[in-house]
Amino acid sequence: MEGLLLIGWIIVKIIAIVLVLLLSVAYITFMERKVISYMQSRIGPNRIGPLGLLQPIADVIKLLNKEVIFPKASNRYLFVIAPIISLGTALAAWAVIPFDKTAVLADINAGVLFVLALSSLGVYGILIAGWASNSKYAMFGALRAAAQSISYEIAMGFALVGVMMAAGSLNLQTIVKAQSGGFLHWYWLPLLPLFIVYWISGIAETNRAPFDLAEGESELVAGFHVEYSGAMFALFFLAEYANMVLISALISVMFFGGWLSPFQGVPYLEAFFAFVPGIVWLLIKLSFFLFCYLWFRATFPRYRYDQVMRLGWKVLLPVTIVWIGVVAMAVHFNISPWFAEV
């Protein structure tokens, strides 16, 4: 009986996280359109609902009402499975993200590994979609996406190795707690090169501009999901944005102290902001990185396929390897305040 209750409670928590996540994804699309509009000196959606706030709802209804077209020469099963894999992995990774001191769905010790594993699995969604569509454009998109995601996962993984070494743990909650002590104690400062590498790889990993060559509008039309329509396209869309939020959350957790207050250790301000729950700080940090995603999209031209590869292997990877050595030395000699012996 008690076991059943526990499972029920976990399911309630999962539903809560997924619902909030999907709703926020819907409004991130709205935010994206608005933010980019103002950057491009136009207004953006403002017709549906007050200030256009119902626009994402209208989009969802539109997509759900559209026919799902299966190309005749496609592989039907894989064609259906691909978007499910994409969205499933994007959502599952949220299980280990700590929202607050105690609020985390699964406080497991291999949290970082879990996230890495799921983000690697996400590539299968793209690969299978591209292959199952039996379309040349989709195939190109899938190949590019696969090569890109795999290359950047290595740089990303190495950047995380630095974090693990600094915190001495794979548990995301422990990593957050290891950063306590204020703004300058967060890992962005001692691990600055790793933070930047992780950020860039994160953008590449989610196939967003300027690394959006897997779906490069002007080259491959829509890349791997060119043959998808209606609800199945919506799944890919959701997965892409859920991944964006995930990467932003991970950057906040691993380099910006997660739910920790930035005013820790600052006299007066710390006490003044003590009432703010940790999740608010996390959301503020997360929103900033999300905003940067949109900002980059409005500013940068798109990289070419080989240039992305070159950046990943010849620039980001060596940087991470060198800095891991530096971190190793710093940890070994207990350089304070970041790596002081506990």
């Binding site: 000196s41 190109f140 500013t299 940068f300 798109r302 070419r304 396929y305």
Partner: protein, 420 residues
């Protein structure tokens, strides 16, 4: 050995329905991995038989078709056609009309280059450029509208001058469902004076806008990685392939019909011809950016001259240009002229003429053969974009798929003109 599969190159269709095909280009690409082995452009999907249509209509009726050739540099197309007719007739428009034509040619050049810049940016992924370019185009299209009544297909140039003089009052926005009084006052701020005042105001802020574009792109590392050394063509080969305009100047050949074979009043105006060094996409980009600055400078000179020198804008040769309506009501001869011109049109002397102008895309030429009738015996249009299109394969061979998009948009092609 029978089990080893035969490895073949991948062939696929790029267009005619593709976001970067610039209209209706169908490009058959053969790729080895991501590297282009062969590119075979198929043209003709937008063929509208403009040249044939012209053979069955009085001369003036075809001016409107010229707008629809290269639909982003409308008045320049008209200019080429009108010049050919004038050459055969042996008439010259009044000086004021020549200045107006030069001014609108340069406005058109900016219009064209802005659209090109926007599309080029969009194709390489810098989508914000597109909307910035359209913001400025809006003002220039308003100039088109003020002078001809329509924003694109103006039909403003006529043999013997231009259709009418520049309006003394710039049209203004009115309060509507979408714009309240306060917004309208703001929007009309630079529309208080004449059209020339409005253009002057534009030329004052436009150089700053170009600086903004440049700050977004010129030194951007991704932009440079995508364009430097891509689609290189040397000066000899560029000449041999018949490239003109910015395509040729990007390769370092200083060739500009406005300087080399001056028409209208270009020989009295001050401007420079920008040239590139290597002939890659980046140089062509720089050349076009500088051309916009030069055009801006030319427009300012024209506005200054036009402000000080009022006068007729149409020839008084009544065998070519109709009389004014007022005149027509009182004068029998004017009435007859009007009737003849509106029904039959005018006849060109037997012979042939070729007139070329420096169109924003290159040399736009019109070759006219007349048998003495009121319509051409044959009209041949030399579209600037056609040789550029033909050079595509040379330019992209060995590059990657993403570069096709960059090179294609740096050619600045419009299918209305290529397919005719």
């Amino acid at each position: 050995m029978g089990n080893i599969p035969e490895i073949r190159n991948y062939t696929f269709n790029f267009g005619p329905q593709h976001p970067a095909a610039h209209g209706v280009l169908r490009l058959i690409l053969e790729v080895d991995g991501e590297t282009i082995v062969r590119a075979d452009p198929h043209v003709g999907l937008l063929h509208r038989a403009t040249e044939k249509l012209a053979e069955s209509k009085p001369y003036n009726h075809t001016i409107g078709y010229m707008d629809r050739l290269d639909y982003v540099s409308m008045m320049c197309n008209e200019h080429g056609y009108v010049l050919a007719i004038e050459k055969l007739l042996g008439i010259a428009p009044p000086v004021r009309a020549q200045y107006i034509r030069v001014m609108f040619d340069e406005i058109t050049r900016i219009l064209n280059h802005l659209l090109w810049l926007g599309a080029h940016g969009l194709d390489i992924g810098a989508m914000t450029m597109f909307l910035y370019a359209f913001r400025e185009r809006e003002d220039l299209l308003d100039c088109y509208e003020a002078v001809s009544g329509t924003r694109m297909h103006a039909t403003y140039y006529r043999p013997g001058g231009v259709y009418r003089d520049l309006p003394a009052q710039m049209p203004q926005y009115k309060v509507s469902k979408w714009h309240n009084e306060k917004q309208v006052v703001e929007m009309n701020e630079n529309r208080q004076g004449s059209l020339l005042d409005f253009i002057w105001d534009f030329t004052q802020r436009f150089p700053k806008r170009i600086d903004e574009y440049e700050s977004l792109l010129t030194e951007n590392r991704i932009w440079k990685q995508r364009t430097v050394g891509i689609g290189v063509i040397g000066p000899e080969q560029a000449i041999a392939m018949g490239l003109t305009g910015p395509m040729l100047r990007g390769s370092g050949v200083e060739w500009d019909l406005r300087k080399k074979q001056p028409y209208e009043v270009y020989d009295q105006l001050d401007f420079a011809i920008p040239v590139g060094a290597t002939g890659d996409c980046y140089d062509r980009y720089l050349v076009r950016i500088e051309e916009m600055r030069q055009s801006n400078h030319l427009i300012r000179q024209c506005v200054r001259w036009l402000r000080d020198n009022p006068g007729p804008v149409m020839t008084d040769n009544r065998k070519v240009a109709p009389p004014t309506r007022l005149h027509m009501k009182e004068d029998m001869e004017a009435m007859i002229h009007h009737f003849k011109l509106m029904s039959e049109g005018y006849c060109l002397p037997e012979g042939e003429a070729y007139a070329a102008i420096e169109h924003p895309k290159g040399e736009f030429g019109v070759y006219l053969v007349s048998d003495g009738a009121n319509k051409p015996y044959r009209l041949k249009i030399r579209a600037a974009g056609f040789p550029h299109m033909a050079a595509l394969e040379t330019l992209i061979k060995g590059h990657m798929i993403s570069d096709v998009v960059a090179v294609l948009s740096s050619l600045d092609i419009v299918f209305g003109e290529i397919d005719r």
